[in-house]
């Protein structure tokens, strides 16, 4: 893909992969039948969906799991939290969760559910000692993201499962994996998590489709009611084209994961070295063990959003660590990691994708360095 701009905000969304786009077009043209209909063409659609689901589960090491396709990660997270929580049970989420988990938990809390927030370590991972000390027989569901959308920090799912199940084997363990596929290895059966969220547009698939992958036997109640599709867990005619596009993108992203990791590690190195060469001071919020595709860094005393726009002037698109505000900084993750207000306001997020090149990354870092110097000079 050739663009006039350099896109370094792949954690927000990715451009669609050509293979996924082709799968969608094909499905829209040839497989438009309602899979619930009674004629043979519908059965063909259903088979294709079942095959794609099976392949996706296999590639995620999800033996013994089922899949519920949704409109994206937000719906999948809502389904497991609202549909998996039982009455009078306690919910534990990490302090750095995406709003689709955090706000959902807040709604339950407002309706009387006890919600505990597992604090973050300085490196952005969840404090597992805290979890060990706080999970009890009362805990009904633990939701801790696999990879942080803010910093790329990876939580150790196997360890989380071990800690929780030791105390409470009935507790549902969910992980929001929206940022994980294609960036780090995912093996659900090996980790033992009960439910896992994915989102197609984060790994080269289309927007508006995602999935909740649930271990067989885990009790989840639906939150969307209607025609009873997807075993009654998510009513509504299946988004055939979206699902097939997602499964195609997942196949490519998972196959390319190791290569991408090496590529992004190289990009991260080039990016930081270019900043260092230009003698720009920054504080790295992404640790060494984070996925290399996401780099969060703070320029204390500057405004992340101003840097974003200065790069935008050069057609380089990045993310900020905090929504623009002259008031209180609002990044829960960075705040949870103990970053100062100045560090939070001055945070930006660079996230690489398969379309990027070393030259683009070098150029972006050099322009960022100039922008930082210009802002420093005007202080």
């Amino acid at each position: 893909m050739k663009n006039k701009f350099v896109y370094l905000d792949n954690a927000a969304t990715t451009p669609i992969l050509a293979e996924a786009a082709a799968a969608i077009t094909r499905a829209d043209e040839e497989l438009f039948f309602n899979p619930s209909a009674a004629y043979g063409q519908a059965l063909e659609v259903k088979k294709r969906l079942d095959d794609a689901s099976k392949k996706l589960l296999e590639s995620l090491g999800a033996k013994g799991y089922g899949i519920v396709f949704s409109s994206g990660a937000t719906e999948a997270n809502n389904l497991i939290i609202q549909g998996g929580m039982k009455k009078n049970k306690q919910l534990i989420i990490s302090a750095g969760e995406h709003p689709s988990v955090y706000e959902c938990a807040k709604t339950l809390k407002n309706n009387g559910t006890e919600v505990l927030y597992a604090p973050l370590n300085k490196d952005g991972t969840t404090d597992l000692n805290w979890l060990r000390a706080n999970v009890t027989s009362k805990t009904g569901l633990v939701s801790i993201m696999h990879v942080s959308n803010e910093t790329g920090a990876i939580n150790n799912l196997t360890e989380i499962v071990k800690i929780v199940k030791k105390v409470n084997s009935a507790c549902i363990i969910h992980s929001d994996g929206a940022q994980a596929i294609g960036k780090t290895d995912v093996n659900l059966a090996a980790s033992g998590v009960d439910a896992y969220t994915t989102s197609a547009h984060k790994f080269g698939g289309p927007k508006g489709v995602g999935a909740l992958i649930v271990k067989n036997g885990i009790g989840v109640k639906p939150i969307v009611f209607g025609g009873g599709q997807q075993r009654g867990l998510r009513s509504g005619t299946e988004n055939t084209a979206g699902i097939l596009g997602m499964c195609k993108a997942a196949e490519i992203a998972i196959k390319g994961c190791l290569n991408n990791r090496l590529l992004y590690t190289e990009f991260k190195k080039i990016f930081l070295e270019t900043l260092d060469k230009n003698r720009v001071e920054y504080k790295l919020n992404s640790c060494l063990n984070c996925v290399p595709g996401i780099v969060s860094l703070s320029f204390t005393g500057l405004k992340g959003e101003v840097l974003l726009h200065m790069l935008e002037e050069h057609d380089i698109l990045i993310g900020t660590g905090s929504a623009c505000s002259s008031k209180a900084p609002d990044n829960r993750t960075l705040k949870g990691m103990g970053r100062s207000n100045g560090e939070i306001n001055g945070a930006i997020r660079i996230s690489f994708g398969v379309c990027n090149t070393s030259a683009e990354v070098r150029q972006a870092a050099a322009i960022l360095a100039d922008a930082v110097k210009k802002l420093e000079d005007s202080k």
Partner: protein, 385 residues
């Protein structure tokens, strides 16, 4: 019998010889908000009447008419030939069972033989005969049946009266240039002046890359909403970053805001004069922030000599301004979290009591005339409607 919407004016009826000027403007503004609907607009003495519209459109027509300045109130109702039996036939069909009511007859047509009080009583009898469980209550009725006997040979009957936007028809009080920042106050200031009949031009200063393109879009959304009340707005957007950088580089930082605002005023005055505006409109409210103290306003005011600066919110509390912003539908846009140019290079301790000599000394470090001319020449124009 015809279904109608009765439009009553506010201040226009007080006007003398030039009354028709205001009435014509009001008609133009009514036509502007009803573009796309099917209807006929007629003028009778002291009223406009809308007829021949699709019944299902009535709620939307009423909503649109509530945007028009100069309208005191609106009533959906019926038009019937002024004949006693015809009027009674309409009144007999009104369904107000279970309510308290009174009939109010206005007899603009003095040739109508029956007195107002007497006719109201007669019609009251008709209502009592045709509805169950109704009671007359002249002091606090749930329903007032208005029977308006006009000189055009028709009587207008209505039971619901909706307040209008009041004020004066847009375009009846000249044209003003509104300083539109994107915050809560400036759209409200624009609304207040438009309510007094002023047509609006608007001026926005933007500071990309210190502010986002979304911030500029937000200002256009606000201008669009204001234009629904005021009519077409000429929006001028001026790139201001280089001016702020110049001030930041050359002047004492504590004077940043006051110097910046004085340059904005100079640009506003020039653009206003160039585009036929007779006033500058600002959303300042006394004491709200450092640049809105009496001393700061005095220093910015001192520059503009060729036209008045209208500050309709000067005596309003923030809460009052926010309430109006909600009422006119600008609040939710104004609070979107995009910074405006005023928060860029914000000093820690801005001067709150500047004196003119000191400010002029700071300004002497800049080539102000050149900066102003560059800004005026770079202003981009867009018609918002």
């Amino acid at each position: 019998m015809k279904q109608v919407i009765i439009i009553r004016y506010s201040e226009i009826h007080l006007k003398g010889d030039n009354r028709s000027f205001f009435e014509n403007l009001l008609a133009q503004n009514i036509k502007r908000v009803l573009t796309g609907f099917m209807y006929t607009l007629n003028k009778i003495s002291g009223r406009y009447i809308i007829t021949d519209y699709i019944t299902a459109d009535e709620p939307q027509l009423l909503m649109q008419l509530q945007l028009v300045f100069g309208i005191h109130s609106l009533s959906p109702g019926f038009q019937v030939k002024t004949k006693v039996d015809d009027i009674k036939a309409i009144v007999s069909k009104l369904n107000i069972s279970g309510e308290t009511f009174k009939v109010v007859t206005r007899r603009a047509d003095k040739s109508f033989a029956i007195g107002s009080m007497e006719f109201s009583a007669e019609l009251g009898g008709v209502v009592l005969r045709n509805n169950k469980d109704v009671k007359v209550d002249v002091n606090n009725p749930a329903v007032i049946i208005n029977v308006d006997i006009r000189e055009d040979g028709f009587t207008y009957i209505s039971t619901v009266t909706t307040p209008g936007a009041n004020g004066m028809p847009s375009g009846s009080s000249g044209k003003g240039l509104l300083l539109l920042s994107g915050g809560i106050d400036s759209p409200v200031a624009g609304y207040c002046m438009a309510k007094r009949g002023m047509s609006l031009n608007a001026l926005h200063f933007y500071s990309f890359p210190y502010t986002s393109k979304q911030a500029l879009e937000k200002v256009k959304t606000l201008a669009k909403r204001l234009s629904e009340f005021s009519g077409e707005i000429n929006l001028y957007t001026v790139p201001f970053t280089f001016v702020q950088e110049q001030i930041n580089k050359n002047c004492n930082k504590d004077y940043m805001i006051i110097v910046m605002r004085r340059i904005m005023m100079r640009i506003a005055e020039k653009l206003a004069a160039k585009n036929g505006c007779g006033a500058i409109i600002s959303g300042e409210s006394l004491g709200q922030v450092a640049s809105q103290t009496l001393e700061s306003i005095t220093v910015t005011n001192a520059l503009v000599r060729s036209m008045p600066i209208f500050r309709p919110l000067i005596g309003s509390d923030k809460q009052e301004i926010m309430d109006t912003a909600r009422k006119i539908g600008t609040y939710d846009t104004s609070i979107l979290p995009y910074e405006d140019c005023c928060t860029v290079f914000l000093p820690k301790n801005p001067v709150t009591r500047p004196n003119l000599d000191r400010v002029e000394k700071e300004e002497s470090k800049l080539n102000i005339a050149e900066l102003v001319d560059i800004c005026v020449s770079k202003a981009e124009h867009e018609i918002i409607n």
